[in-house]
């Protein structure tokens, strides 16, 4: 790798949009995975044209680029590996709008987008828990889901078209979202997206249940999944419930997009969600700071939950969508954990992505498929090197 020609990069983005200040590099050396890498420079591009020029320069000089949205990756997806950070936060404009779509730049924050759409009683319904900071580019790169995935699916399901710049520097507009969603910035930099929007639900309500066994819980979930008015099916495991001073049983929370549920007032609904959303603090304080997000097929969920119970691994999650969040102690052996995920025919990650921290656990077939795509779109391997494969 050659030395960075900062003058050249500065001529592309302007002095105020590039830094090599050691404090800035330290701050950009990490993300929510709390793993430190090394950034050579940080650049805030403002246009797709600037990105193509930066990529052309990186190809010529064999410089690596790590794209970054909000830096909320839990798998070190935005941690630089002796690379330039390309922070897309300043590309945050709405460029076009129709009655049921909106085109935005990749750095647009989901919550800002929804604040804008709510004025027209519309919204973008895929809402991960980091929605107040998450960018649309980051959500597509990881194909983020969220608590309402059972009804609304993933980010790609609500994306009509994307504009990308590949690792070769080609600008492509495509409707083949699945080719690039979930590829965590190793093939391309997503610069723009046309998203589908929908009407806000007129009413929501919540019902909660308690079950003594995983089998009873899963049976109820199976039954509830037939009801199309349900937007979220969340559970909290017995060990986790006991840490919240609740009965040590499986607690199930159902959100309806009508008035079917037993809790109908805003206060009741907020109270129910608060318990679910406050879990992170309780579990971190109890010594379980790490979070895993395997996706388990419905038929194997009960067996997997029973294994977690035997291991005293606190868990909760989007059970309607098969995502089981497991909180892990820092010294826990993850090899055995992922052996169990595999034995239960599960996927390594349901929504957080692979990044740096989970790549050793993904199947070789997926790695081979990604390597083929990498050869096609980023043959010089300049984009997010070291991630996923």
């Amino acid at each position: 790798m050659q030395d960075l020609d900062i003058q050249k990069l500065t001529s592309i983005v302007g002095q105020q949009n590039i830094t090599q200040n050691p404090t800035d590099l330290l701050i950009y050396a990490t993300d929510a995975a709390q793993i430190k890498g090394r950034a050579l420079a940080v650049i805030w591009p403002k246009t797709t044209g600037e990105i193509t020029q930066i990529i052309a320069y990186a190809n010529k000089k064999d410089i690596q680029i790590t794209p970054r949205g909000a830096g909320t990756s839990l798998t070190a997806g935005a941690v630089p590996q002796n690379s330039i950070i390309l922070d897309l936060s300043k590309m945050d404009k709405i460029t076009q709008e129709t009655s049921d779509t909106i085109t935005v730049e990749a750095g647009t924050i989901l919550d800002d987008l929804n604040t804008h759409l709510r004025q027209k009683d519309k919204y973008f319904p895929v809402i991960p828990s980091s929605d107040t900071v998450a960018t649309i580019g980051g959500m597509l790169a990881t194909n983020a889901a969220g608590t309402r995935a059972i009804k609304y699916g993933k980010t790609s399901d609500w994306t009509e078209e994307i504009e990308i710049v590949t690792g070769k520097g080609d600008i492509i507009k495509t409707k083949d979202i699945n080719e690039f969603a979930s590829t965590e910035g190793i093939l391309c930099i997503i610069t723009k997206a046309t998203l589908k929007t929908t009407s806000l639900p007129e009413q929501t309500s919540i019902t909660t249940y308690e079950f003594s066994t995983a089998e009873e819980l899963v049976e109820k979930v199976k039954q509830l999944k037939k009801d199309k008015s349900i937007a979220a099916i969340e559970y909290i495991g017995p060990f986790t419930s006991s840490m919240q001073d609740e009965t040590p049983k499986y607690h199930l929370l159902i959100e309806y997009e009508n008035n079917t549920g037993t809790h109908k007032t805003t206060e009741e609904i907020e109270k129910a969600w608060k318990q679910r959303k406050g879990l992170g603090t309780v579990l971190s304080a109890a010594g379980y700071p790490k979070i895993e997000d395997p996706k388990i097929p419905e038929k194997n969920i009960a067996a997997f939950l029973n294994w977690l119970k035997d291991q005293n691994i606190p868990n909760f999650g989007h059970i309607g969508y098969g995502i089981i969040h497991c909180r892990i102690k820092p010294d826990h052996d993850l090899n055995e954990f992922y052996r169990q995920v595999k034995n239960h025919n599960g996927q390594v990650s349901g929504e957080h992505g692979i990044g740096l921290t989970k790549k050793q656990y993904i199947p070789q077939t997926l790695k081979d498929e990604l390597k083929k795509k990498k050869q096609k779109y980023d043959p010089k391997n300049i984009l997010n090197r070291g991630k996923m494969i």
Partner: protein, 120 residues
Amino acid sequence: MTEEKKPTLKDCTLCGLCKSNCPVFRATKQETKGARARAILIKEDMLNEIILQCTLCASCKIECPEEIDLPEEIRKARQKLIESGKETQANKIMIDNIRKYGNPFGKQVAGKIPKELYCC
């Protein structure tokens, strides 16, 4: 009765939610100017001017899922900066004015609008 343990920056997971409504981040769209940057710098004991680029609005405290009082940590870090002689000129003038005139703007003639306003 045992006192509940107050979360500190040791409990910070760097989730980044503190920058949701951070006005400095919102205005600059640079991670280096936002609330999480200040949390990182205090954790690393690398105090500098970024600690001073905060309005102390406490939106980070409201957003923090770990319920960490980041504004309080920033106040303590500012104190450390001042003790080590790292202070902004604007801050020095403001403190001097408060000591001399009882207000941060300096000597004022009745009805006259101050030409310069200082803030931290």
